[in-house]
Symmetry: none
Subunit: 220 residues, 2 copies
């Protein structure tokens, strides 16, 4: 019996790509597609997939909430493979904490995508596939990038800290961040200090650099 896969991504192009890659395998069958997280639970009930390949960043209901919804409401839920554009996407960590079984970069090669789906289906927990390291080597050979990713991977920023880092990366001062988040400046200083410590950054500039280099924030 074939391996049944459900695709969830708001970009039709990505769905088409995944479908093309996966259906080239004789033992893999794409049993459905959804464009947002809200449609996932009913579709899973209807199609009973073995694996859900799910984007994290989606309108209406993101991959994190969709993962929680699946695990909460569906008996014998499918394996969940989170598909993401960036390494160290903080949403990915949340999705994994929410119960996803692994994650995969969109820029992975077809063979790696197929491999990841098979591994997940077999119950392997796929967190840091070799492909990530390989991709890191292929792409930025600059050690800075890898260090940035490593720093952010170690970091495990809390939700609030991530929020603060994002505002830091937009050039806001502590006072401005405090105003934006409607808290005291001392509170912001606490969060900033925590971010610096977790990222191994000496000052906010270095933290922002790490945010850019790791893909935590994207230029453009």
């Amino acid at each position: 019996m074939p391996l049944r896969v459900l695709l969830v991504d708001d970009e039709p192009l990505v769905r088409a790509g995944l479908r093309a890659v996966l259906e080239a395998q004789p033992d893999i069958e794409v049993v459905g597609e959804a464009a947002d997280g809200a449609a996932v639970v009913p579709l899973v009930r209807q199609t009973r997939p073995d694996v859900v390949a799910m984007d994290v960043r989606m309108p209406l209901l993101d991959g994190i909430e969709a993962t929680r919804a699946l695990l909460r409401t569906v008996a014998d839920p499918p394996k969940i493979l989170v598909v993401t554009t960036f390494e160290n996407d903080e949403y990915v960590y949340e999705a994994l904490r929410a119960g996803a079984d692994g994650f995969l970069l969109k820029r992975a090669r077809p063979a790696e995508i197929v491999h990841a789906v098979r591994l997940i289906a077999e119950g392997e927990s796929l967190l840091f596939p070799a492909s990530v390291r390989q991709l890191a080597a292929e792409y930025g050979d600059g050690g800075g990038n890898r260090a940035a990713r490593a720093a952010l991977a170690r970091a495990r920023l809390t939700e609030r800290e991530g929020e603060v880092l994002r505002l830091m990366a937009r050039g806001l001062s502590n006072a401005e961040i405090a105003a934006r988040l409607v808290v005291g400046t001392e509170t912001v200083k606490s969060h900033v200090s925590a971010v610096l410590a977790k990222l191994g950054a000496r000052d906010r500039t270095q933290a922002v650099i790490t945010a850019y280099e790791s893909g935590f924030v994207a230029p453009g």
Copy 2:
């Protein structure tokens, strides 16, 4: 005779998606794929496509350089459709200036993708609707990226100031920059102040953000 399309994108998944979408059309034929800009010119010579669907951000040779190379070296060059993930990608503007005929967001619907390829092939210069709004709005409010580019264009940094900004963007303190450039810290402070003034930045963090957003320094 069918419309011949060449796909250039470093992500196999995106290529597979575009291929699936385009080959669903009876009058469109995908005549080749390339994973980076360096392979484009020989492939175009070999396959003679009508349209090249090209990613901007790629390893080795990006979409901008590949566009320039095509228009410079190939007689009767194909139409160039730039494919991008983000609206307001500054690379896209550069690609258009370099001679690309239009651009398209990756999250476009299949029908829009097909439509774009057909329009481009007919010689229409195409900007995806969502981005036209951006282009129109940029004269008014000027999105962050645009502002960053404008700031850097206004800036006219001297060679030394550019050097200093680059080091700032690597997280170095004034003292460290001074040591690196073998000058006094007061000198560095002068340069930093000049950079901040020219970029309209309040502090070094904002300057580094502008450096990233404008493409003056590139992540990865």
